[in-house]
């Protein structure tokens, strides 16, 4: 069934076959397989096409660092994901996968023509190729780049999956469950500390899964692993999390984890989240992430079948899969020799071991000889052949720097190892320094900024015994730093494989290096030649080389390519590696779904939607809603067949003619209480408050210290020492914060306390000539006559049986009241008023009608008619300033030179010459519409509506020197190239004398 599967070998369940598809063809693997291991078991190396040249590509690694084998996965309707690593996606029945960057098929791809046009795609090709001619940009270059750029295809359907998130706190977080991570975990866990161990793989064990040659404490590797995991799992203070990637390491030991929960399941429970983002706060972090093997850089190193030797080890031991029958090893590190031995022992005919080094440990030479494996030391590789799979490799001896005669060796896999790079991406996220270690030939962790320990191969250590000991020590160190005591266990290891190697640039060749396709970055198709070209063209900093060539800028962040690129760049620059420096790793460690980051915040739960106590009534009565800050507010209440325009006209008319009702519950409300309340109000607001009597209210204007309008609202004096302050809907939290700031930090001597009561009260505004007729019969405890309860009054009384704070105020210019009742009664009161208002054809209205009615009266909306640069004088409400007050917030700024200067933008009214023209809010205003572009803009329209009461359009605008332009005609250019003319007027369009407020 699986021609390359070794029966009985590996950790997959060979009794449980699993069927999945790749590019429409059904394949069989086993439970525990990844897509990559299952395809390899079937002899399929070709898994994708290169991003730039569309060259055939095979799987290179066995882990999350995989640059080539990126596939699209379909897990059911709507569940398509591009760029999934075939090496990480576990198979299950019905999983459907596809290759990427190919057309029409993976085996025959038209885009491979790019491979012949490679001159176009050299380093900096974006900057060079697409510069000229300019007219080509829109029609040729941009479409080309857009088609070529990006990996895979983006999903087109809404993601139906759930995503979850959690916070987690622990003493010790261990990233990586290889031997060093497990040794650290055992030490920490046995002390009783709370321990979390995470690993991105589907099962824990790390290198022990792919290098099971050792015995630990008398048990074989997998036996020891099982015992260890059993012990850890049995401890209540330990949490083991597989399929969980530490994606980012943030301040003060907060580590982000992305846990994959369902991508490996064929039957997903309905409410199961696909992924969960964990925000872990750890006392100590231990990074035991191992090391990543580096490719060798030589011509044709990207051919399918050319892969990492360590990956071949993993496929062999963990999955029971031979990556070929006739593999050849190409290495500069001892570790790959063991790959050769293990493959030979598993029945492969190893074509040869080619090592660039001349000094090989004798034990390795003997072991090769014992297995009859040809060894070619001091050799280079100069080419490979084979269209969709490697068929042979061309190797040459190198003597004294000279490349000798070539020899071609047939093979069906080339297993390369250019050394190992400690995996320190997360450590880099903390801004910990990486120092070059000449002995280990690697960057190793230096100065630490967080409570972190690095263990194992991440510190350049090699061999199971060394990393177990180091892990145990890291665990003990972490406990010590937590103030706990612990002894690190020791481990007896036999059969360990230690080793060493060298780093190197691209391999020497006897051919023209200019025509070699020796890839450094497989995912972004960057070659050694590109890096040398970048240096020749003047890039000196490694950060510039990176951006010019895009080396390391693909989704794998250069996990395989960074060190090779750096080595080649430093050679081209004639500098040592540490002098050239490193590029920066940034979160996330591996590509992370938007879903995981969004968590629960999607759909209706995307953001808080605040609803008033009357929202449910509005919903039942088919209101249209609009968002205002976090609130949703009833916008208008359309009747059958009405559009917004018709509904708003009707609501306006009904309110002006008889009676309208409006849910004003979102208005901010602040209780300002205490013996010094009036002094506090005098200091905060522009208006004078001392003489405001109990039971009276006043329009209040709040400035910033810079003199610009921040907020406004009606403020009632409930007692000598108690004010009921209202704020704008969007300003409520901001105003309270500003008040608290002054109270706590500038005037702590004042005895005043502030409490938000926005949500304690439901607020209903009643407006129209019949407002009093509606309310008076429902009110108990307050004489509603104009004499007893004049405009700008407030009283505590009962309305329709509910305790209330009743204001007589108006934001419409009509006789008006605002009734505040405890929020739970809001809807009941609304319904009672609707019922009682029937004789007056009471009309519920929404925010749009409220806006029109207030604009007809020239009442401003903070944030619409003002924008943070408008003073009270600019807005025409200088009357709200208490001129006699010695000080208030913002007063000093009102006499600053630029505030009193001529030519400030001022709020004026606009009446269009054509009364049917409704100007567009935000439209710019000019003096002469025929002036050449760019025109001099002297202001903009802030509010603009159709006024049903006036039978024409009205608008407000801020215009330079606006008050001096009364009667002038201004022009508002329109998007179609025309313009509209309008005359400057005052802002009060309706009932300028204010007679309607006084209706009997």
């Amino acid at each position: 069934m699986n021609p390359f599967r070794i029966k009985g070998r590996g950790r997959v369940n060979q009794d449980r076959p699993v069927r999945f598809t790749f590019d429409g063809k059904t394949f069989v693997g086993f439970e525990g397989d990844t897509v990559a291991s299952a395809l390899l078991a079937n002899g399929e190396h070709l898994m994708g096409r290169g991003f730039k040249y569309h060259r055939p590509r095979g799987v290179v690694t066995a882990g999350s660092e995989e640059p080539n084998a990126l596939i699209g996965t379909t897990r059911g309707p709507g569940r398509f994901e591009p760029n999934t690593r075939a090496t990480m996606q576990e198979i299950y029945d019905e999983l459907s996968t596809e290759s990427q960057n190919k057309w029409p098929t993976l085996k025959f791809d038209v885009g491979a023509i790019n491979d012949r046009l490679y001159m176009l795609f050299s380093a900096g090709f974006y900057y060079k190729t697409f510069m000229w001619p300019k007219s080509f940009w829109d029609k040729v270059y941009e479409p080309f780049i857009r088609r070529a750029a990006g990996l895979g295809r983006a999903p087109t359907e809404l993601d139906p999956d759930h995503y979850a998130s959690r916070y987690l706190h622990c003493d010790v977080l261990i990233v990586g469950s290889g031997p060093s991570g497990l040794a650290a975990a055992l030490t920490a866990a046995r002390s009783g500390a709370s321990v979390v161990v995470v690993d991105e793989q589907s099962e824990m064990g790390g290198a022990l899964l792919s290098e099971p040659s050792v015995d630990i404490d008398g048990d074989n590797a997998w036996g020891w692993l099982a015992t260890t995991l059993d012990e850890l799992a049995s401890l209540p203070n330990v949490r083991l999390m597989s399929r969980t990637t530490a994606i980012g390491y943030y301040h003060q030991n907060m580590v982000g984890l992305c846990q994959k929960l369902t991508d490996h399941l064929s039957d997903v429970p309905v409410d199961a989240p696909r992924e969960r983002l964990w925000r872990v706060r750890a006392g100590q972090v231990i990074l035991a992430q191992g090391a990543i093997e580096r490719p060798m850089v030589f011509d044709g190193n990207d051919r399918p079948g050319v892969m990492m030797a360590g990956a071949a080890q993993t496929f062999l031991h963990r999955f029971g899969v031979k990556v070929g029958d006739r593999p050849l090893i190409l290495t500069s590190h001892d570790s790959a020799w063991h790959t050769a031995f293990d493959l030979a022992d598993a029945g492969c005919k190893v074509a040869a071991i080619v090592d660039t080094r001349t000094d090989i440990p004798p034990a390795l030479m003997h072991a090769a000889m014992a297995r009859n494996i040809e060894t070619l030391t001091g050799h280079t590789a100069t080419a490979t052949s084979g269209r969709l799979r490697v068929k042979s490799i061309r190797v040459n001896p190198v003597r004294g720097g000279a490349v000798g005669a070539a020899r071609t060796i047939p093979c069906d896999a080339v297993l390369m190892c250019g050394g190992w790079t400690p995996s320190l991406h997360l450590f880099s996220h903390t801004k910990g320094s990486l120092d070059w270690d000449a002995k280990a030939k690697a960057y190793l962790p230096g100065h630490k900024t967080e409570a972190v320990h690095i263990a194992g191969a991440g510190r350049g250590l090699w061999g199971i015994a060394a990393v177990l000991e180091d892990g145990a020590k890291a665990g003990a160190d972490a406990l010590r730093d937590l103030g706990r005591k612990a002894g690190a266990a020791t481990y007896a290891v036999t059969g360990d494989r230690t080793g060493a190697g060298i780093t190197q640039k691209e391999l020497p060749t006897d051919r023209s290096p200019g025509s070699a396709k020796a890839f450094v970055d497989f995912q972004n198709d960057v070659t050694a030649k590109d890096i040398r070209l970048a240096v020749r063209e003047g890039m000196r900093s490694i950060e510039h080389v990176k951006r010019y060539t895009t080396n390391g800028m693909a989704t794998d962040q250069g996990k395989l390519s960074n060190m090779n690129g750096l080595t080649i760049a430093s050679d081209a620059l004639g500098k040592d590696i540490p002098q050239v420096g490193l590029t920066t790793f940034r979160p996330p460690y591996t590509p992370t779904t938007f879903g995981a980051l969004a968590g629960y915040h999607k759909g209706s739960h995307f953001e808080v939607t605040r609803k008033t106590p009357i929202d449910s009534w509005a919903t039942e009565h088919d209101a249209a809603f609009e968002p205002v800050a976090l609130w949703r507010r009833a916008w208008y209440f359309p009747k059958a067949g009405e559009d917004m325009h018709a509904a708003v006209n009707r609501e306006c008319k009904a309110t002006r003619q008889s009676l309208g009702m409006f849910d004003a519950s979102t208005l901010g409300k602040i209780e300002v209480s205490g013996p010094d309340a009036v002094e506090f109000m005098n200091r905060m607001y522009t208006n004078p408050w001392t003489k405001l009597g109990v039971g009276r209210c006043r329009y209040g204007l709040l400035l910033g210290e810079d003199g610009f309008i921040r907020d406004d609202g009606v403020i009632g004096r409930m007692r000598d020492d108690l004010f009921h302050v209202t704020t704008t809907t969007g300003g409520a939290a901001r105003v309270l914060n500003m008040m608290e700031d002054y109270l706590q930090t500038e005037w702590p001597d004042l005895q005043v306390w502030l409490t938000s009561t926005t949500e304690e009260w439901a607020t209903i505004a009643i407006n129209g000539p019949n407002a009093r007729k509606l309310l008076a019969p429902l009110v108990e405890g307050q004489d509603m006559s104009d004499e007893a309860f004049p405009h700008m009054s407030v009283a505590e009384c009962k309305v329709a049986g509910f305790s209330s704070r009743l204001f007589r105020i108006s934001f419409t210019g009509e006789l008006g009241y605002e009734v505040n009742v405890p929020a739970r009664h809001g809807r009941a009161l609304w319904e009672k008023l609707m019922e009682a208002g029937k004789p007056y054809d009471i009309c519920p209205y929404g925010t749009e009608t409220m806006h029109v009615l207030r604009a007809e009266k020239g009442y401003i909306i903070i944030g619409q008619d003002t924008d943070g640069t408008v003073t009270p004088e600019d807005a025409g409400i200088g009357w709200a300033i208490g001129k006699a007050k010695p000080d208030f917030v913002g007063k000093r700024s009102l006499s600053r030179p630029d505030i009193v200067a001529k030519g400030r933008k001022q709020l004026i009214g606009l009446l269009t010459d054509n009364p049917k023209d409704v100007l567009i809010e935000g439209a710019q205003i000019v003096l002469d519409p025929k002036q050449p572009k760019p025109m001099k803009m002297i202001g903009h329209v802030t509010s603009s509506y159709w006024s049903e009461a006036l039978g024409r359009s009205i608008a407000m605008a801020v215009v330079e020197g606006g008050f001096d332009r009364m009667g002038d005609t201004l022009h508002i250019p329109t998007a179609d190239g025309g313009s509209q003319a309008a005359k400057v007027t005052g802002c009060v369009f309706y009932d300028p004398a204010g007679d309607r407020l006084k209706v009997e």
């Binding site: 759930h162 979850a164 959690r166 916070y167 706190h169 739960h605 808080v608 609803k611 209480s673 949500e759």
Partner: protein, 176 residues
């Protein structure tokens, strides 16, 4: 408001009936006056709470206390504090309708709250309360016992918090 209790074995979520809820602000030096008015010795350390005979109080800030009492007592409490105002200035604001209270109980309650609570709840002792965030909503979190919490959330934020708890409940129940 009495929403049905939603639960599975490990966690229950229930909306509690209304309670008289008051925000008290007073200088700590005058706290004895407030304690006498409320009939409970108010705690002085932020987070601490006391409870007796249906009255409960938690210190939320240096000069701020959250008071709970049976609804029937609300008018009398307000009257008692009004009488005490001549002795010690303070602010007592009724916020009974400002918030809803949600109870989260059960053996996995603490873990359950970690879907949206950034605090290390293992450090929060029973009987304490604090203002904090739950997801993006400001709440007062009260811990009544190892396995019992209350969330007090502003009325308009309640649907958001309540929906999130429902989602989390289904997530916990499915076991993944």
């Amino acid at each position: 408001m009495n929403a049905p209790v939603k639960s599975f074995d490990a966690v229950s979520v229930a909306v509690l009936p209304p309670v008289a809820r008051l925000n008290l602000r007073i200088a700590p030096a005058n706290l004895a006056v407030a304690s006498a008015a409320f009939g409970l010795t108010l705690p002085t350390k932020i987070g601490q709470g006391v409870a007796k005979k249906g009255h409960a109080a938690w210190c939320l800030g240096p000069d701020e206390w959250l008071l709970h009492a049976p609804e029937a007592d609300q008018a009398a409490i307000v009257a008692d504090f009004t009488a005490a105002r001549v002795k010690a200035p303070h602010s007592l604001t009724v916020i009974s309708d400002r918030e809803f209270t949600i109870a989260i109980t059960g053996p996995r309650a603490q873990e359950f709250l970690s879907v949206a609570c950034p605090l290390d709840l293992s450090r929060m002792a029973p009987g304490t309360a604090k203002r904090t965030l739950f997801d993006t909503a400001q709440v007062v979190l009260i811990r009544d016992a190892d396995d019992a919490f209350r969330i007090e959330v502003w009325r308009s934020f309640f649907p958001h918090v309540s929906d999130l708890l429902d989602i989390a409940l289904r997530e916990f129940a499915c076991g993944l």
